[in-house]
């Protein structure tokens, strides 16, 4: 039996009285305050610099008449920006944006949710292929996807689908320059978000609940709708929120696919506000403010919905995974997967390669697509012979790695503080985590420029300012990913370790993180890939030395050099696909396999 021996004051300098008992109490209090508030103070300071200041300055800009450049003239308070926001064009664009976001989110949910369920819980044939199909489209940014699909399905006679119809003698045409076209593209390229955020929870879910339902006579559909889906509700809502906001604030897709059809969306208006001279940054910030208010409301609804229920499915009890038998639906399910793969990966890659190998983009007939005499490598040689390309490639990889590590660590800490600590102000941390979602990345980039250029930390003009920007830009995704995985783990597992004397750090390292491995791996991978693809946040911050690949692609597109844009997109999408293929083992080799 252990004996608790009180410490001897002559041995312990902190308890050795010098001058009286009052001084002994002051030292302990100080240490206690540091222990309780020190880490949180550091976290708050980081979040204030990274998030609060840039968002705050945008808030300020929305209500003033002069761009708040550090050291520049101060503007006067005005509501004119808000009034301009209420004009018919902007309101119409807002409605269109909401429609597109709802449609894109719904389509992405169908694709991504079904793929995740098939991969995690069913006996679909070629399950590794399903896992692959769910995440491989991550390699392709929405910009590149829109570019590729404009080659495939634009209304012009050189689009590949229209050429195909013409070759068949059909008087049909497709037009991707439409609301439906944008919904289609968004649905394809945001499905992986659902897949990644649902795959982990579905894999880690305790199957006993579903087994109990089936034992009681519930059909597979009833089990899915009454048991499975409700248990992954946090992940679904998280993915839904993320996807909706990412789509509504995405500007490359509506710029490429909407503007030619005269379709106004909020992001395309914001882009024009900031790109066309003279820039109207204050009004752009006001639009961002509107989106922020919507976002805060959505988060509030989501959190209230989740907080009323218990979603824990990983406990201290062991469990064996269970695969739902699809029966006659096995092969149709696989066909569904293959269809997604063709639409999201094969066809766009085909289009990028076509555009890369052709001297120019005009095509007279469908057969020309397969005529080797029509191909040459001039554009590949031009791009691969360009020092700018290689510099951008190195920068992109470096940036991706740094953002994944730094961002992943920060997001994990934030998720832990919010979900596992009783630290004061943790709700503040949660809202801060989601705040970057609210501001369109274009506008947020402006906030970064106005804030960090004036900081005493000399990161402006370096790669580190981009790291900081991307850590903030993807804070919602990273935080959401870490939180979703952490929510699946019951607290009693960790509390058991704490009761047995383990420190919080050790508990996190030996209990929590291993159980979260799938989620952590997915989050880091997602951060890396999103960073590689990101365009908007870098537009105001890049320099000649820190140019990244997305900027190179955009510059080529803006200059009308589509072949060079296609070459660059093809090369770096291929590299990203390789990264995704390597990284997917982190996902499929998680808890499910261990228990197998």
């Amino acid at each position: 039996m252990a004996t608790i021996t009180p410490p001897k004051t002559e041995d312990d300098p902190t308890l050795r009285p010098f001058g009286g008992a009052g001084e002994v109490r002051a030292e302990s209090l100080l240490r206690r305050l540091l222990r309780q508030w020190g880490p949180m103070t550091v976290l708050y300071a980081i979040l204030i610099v990274l998030v609060v200041l840039p968002v705050g300055i945008l808030f300020y800009a929305a209500f003033t008449d002069v761009a708040p450049r550090p050291g520049g003239a101060r503007g006067s308070f005005t509501l004119k920006n808000i009034q301009d926001l209420m004009g018919p064009t902007t309101l119409g664009a807002a409605r269109t944006s909401v429609v597109i976001a709802l449609g894109g989110t719904s389509v992405a949910m169908v694709w991504g949710g079904l793929l995740a369920w098939l991969a995690a819980r069913t006996d679909v044939p070629f399950r590794p292929l399903v896992q692959l199909a769910g995440i491989v489209p991550l390699f392709m940014s929405a910009l590149v996807g829109a570019l590729a699909w404009s080659f495939i399905a634009s209304p012009g006679r050189s689009s590949y689908v229209n050429l195909f119809f013409s070759a068949l003698g059909l008087d049909w045409t497709v037009n991707i320059y439409s609301v439906g076209g944008m919904v289609f593209v968004f649905g394809l390229y945001y499905a992986p978000f659902y897949f990644l955020l649902l795959n982990g929870p579905l894999t880690l879910m305790n199957p006993e609940l579903e087994e109990a339902a089936e034992v009681c006579g519930a059909s597979r559909r009833k089990t899915a709708t009454a048991i499975t889906i409700p248990l992954v509700t946090p992940a679904i809502l998280g993915a839904l929120l993320l996807t909706f906001v990412l789509i509504i604030e995405n500007f490359p897709v509506p710029t490429l696919l909407g503007t030619p059809a005269g379709i106004n969306t909020l992001p395309s208006i914001i882009y024009r506000l900031m790109h066309n001279p003279p820039p109207r940054s204050n009004l752009a910030a006001a639009v961002g403010l509107l989106l922020m208010l919507i976002m805060v409301g959505l988060i509030w609804i989501q959190r209230r919905f989740i907080s009323k229920k218990e979603y824990t499915t990983i406990t201290g009890k062991g469990m064996t995974p269970r695969r739902i038998k699809l029966g006659k639906w096995r092969w149709p399910a696989l066909a569904f997967v293959l269809l997604y793969f063709v639409l999201a990966v094969f066809l766009p890659f085909f289009a990028l390669l076509q555009m890369s190998l052709r001297p120019h983009s005009f095509i007279m007939s469908f057969s020309e697509l397969f005529d080797p005499n029509a191909f040459d490598l001039r554009h590949f040689r031009a791009v691969l012979g360009s020092e700018r390309f290689w510099t951008a490639l190195r920068n992109s990889f470096t940036l991706g790695a740094l953002t994944a590590v730094a961002g992943g660590l920060l997001h994990l800490v934030m998720a832990y503080v919010v979900l596992r600590s009783r630290a004061p102000g943790r709700k503040f941390v949660e809202y801060i985590a989601m705040a970057p979602l609210a501001m369109p990345a274009l506008v947020l980039g402006l906030g970064f420029l106005w804030t960090w250029i004036a900081l005493p930390i000399p990161i402006y003009g370096t790669l580190w300012v981009l790291v900081a920007a991307y850590v903030v830009r993807f804070m919602p995704q990273g935080f959401q990913g870490m939180s979703s995985s952490m929510l699946q783990i019951h607290k009693d597992l960790e509390e058991s370790a704490l009761v047995c004397g383990a420190t919080r750090a050790r508990t996190l390292r030996t209990i929590t993180l291993p159980l979260m491995r799938a989620g952590v791996a997915g989050s880091l991978l997602l951060l890396f890939i999103l960073t590689m693809r990101e365009l908007s946040a870098a537009l105001f911050l890049f320099t000649a030395q820190t140019r990244v690949l997305s900027i190179v692609v955009f510059d080529y597109w803006d200059s009308g050099l589509l072949a060079q844009a296609a070459v660059t997109s093809f090369i770096y999408s291929s590299l990203l696909m390789g990264i995704v293929l390597i990284g997917r083992k982190w996902l499929e080799g998680s808890a499910g396999r261990k228990r197998d």
Partner: protein, 392 residues
């Protein structure tokens, strides 16, 4: 709980190592410095004769001294400069390739941004005393004046300044036109036979062949170039010219490059505001596109060059600017498809033209006081007529 400790982070280490190796491989790779766009051959390069000939000249290119001994020594110590430019990527890379071909051992780092973003960047950086640009090449005279008012520029008298017409230079060597960009008609020759293509804005407005979404054109907010064309069109043919143009239901795009590609791909058949540089690239690639200077209004706009007051490499910047306005720079600009402001400089290379029209035939709306004065009013009118918001 995971008991297989040896595999706990095995996958992570494997992936990290793979990424590290990949990054190292990529870091070892590199291209050469021929950072030019596809197709066009480099500008004529007098590199073989580069170097000082006169005792007082520090560095000479194509017979022109671009730096005295003192300036050259200082420039060499700096090693290079940073250029912020709003000229399109394709055309800018052609001129920079010519600089490289000329053999001047100073690197030029290019940051290319559209007019609005470039303006915001420059203003913010300058106010924060962190302007990274040594040389600015900026479109839209209204924006450039804004920079001048803020003290962004430092005077530097470039060579041949006396040969630059007065409307194309401002202040006492504060800034001057760096390139003059003409805007041409362009059409898809496979879909619109040349005989049917309009040769003037008047015939374009009158042509029923181009009704119903067959025109790809920039909206009025795209830099100063599109506004310049709309301004001149209205000036010459009245407000009804805009109404007539809007009635053709043109497809409004956000960049000259986007309009050009739409024409080449056959989404539309005609573009009235295309740049020579882009047309040259497409024609060199064999695309079915032809360009034409409109007979009635051939509009040109300037991109304005100046030395920045906060330049970190002022001497290298001066050498670059001296080259730009020397024979070598004039030839490079001409090869890229733009006119050079120095009188008597070579005509631009324009596909389909043996000799481009003389610069005196071009119209420069930026020299019209109403160009800036009426800007807001005309923007509002255009929005109403075309029912399109360049920026609400």
């Amino acid at each position: 709980m995971n008991t297989k400790k040896s595999n706990r982070f095995g996958a992570a280490r494997h992936t990290t190592a793979t990424l590290a190796v990949l990054a190292l491989i990529l870091a070892a790779c590199g291209g050469n410095d021929a950072d030019a766009p596809a197709a066009p051959a480099p500008a004529p390069a007098p590199a073989a004769d580069a170097g000082p000939t006169a005792p007082e000249c520090g560095y000479e290119v194509a017979g022109d001294c671009i730096a005295d001994a003192e300036l050259w020594a200082a420039a060499q110590a700096e090693g290079g400069l940073t250029l912020y430019s709003s000229v399109s990527e394709a055309r800018q890379q052609v001129t920079l390739a010519a600089w490289a071909e000329a053999g001047v051992p100073l690197t030029v780092e290019l940051v290319r941004l559209g007019g609005g973003r470039l303006y915001e960047r420059v203003q913010t950086e300058h106010i924060a005393n962190q302007l990274a640009a040594d040389v600015l090449l900026h479109s839209d005279i209204a924006l450039v004046n804004g920079h001048a008012d803020l003290g962004v520029y430092e005077p530097h008298c470039v060579p041949n300044l006396d040969l630059i017409p007065d409307p194309l230079k401002f202040g006492d060597c504060l800034f001057q036109a760096g390139v003059i960009v003409p805007l041409l008609f362009g059409w898809n020759t496979a879909l619109l036979p040349s005989g049917q293509a309009p040769t003037s804005y008047r015939s374009m407005l009158d042509s029923a062949e181009l009704d119903g979404g067959k025109i790809a054109v920039q909206h009025i907010g795209v830099g100063g170039s599109s506004y310049a064309v709309y301004f001149e069109l209205r000036k010459q043919y009245g407000p009804e010219s805009w109404v007539a143009m809007a009635a053709k239901d043109p497809v409004l795009v956000g960049a000259a490059g986007a309009a050009q590609e739409a024409v080449v791909r056959g989404e539309q058949v005609f573009g009235p505001m295309l740049t020579v540089g882009n047309i040259n690239v497409s024609v060199d690639d064999g695309a079915p596109i032809a360009g034409l200077f409109p007979e009635d209004i051939s509009v040109a706009i300037g991109h304005w060059m100046g030395l920045t007051a906060q330049a970190s490499n002022p001497n290298a910047a001066k050498v670059f600017m001296n080259w730009w306005y020397s024979t070598g720079g004039q030839e490079a600009v001409a090869f890229s498809g733009d006119y050079h402001p120095v009188s008597g400089s070579p005509s631009p290379r324009v596909a389909g033209y043996d000799v481009a029209p003389d610069v005196s035939t071009l119209v420069f709306p930026e020299s019209d006081p109403d160009f800036i004065r009426l800007r807001d009013e005309l923007f509002n009118e255009w929005q109403t007529v075309f029912n399109f918001t360049p920026g609400s």
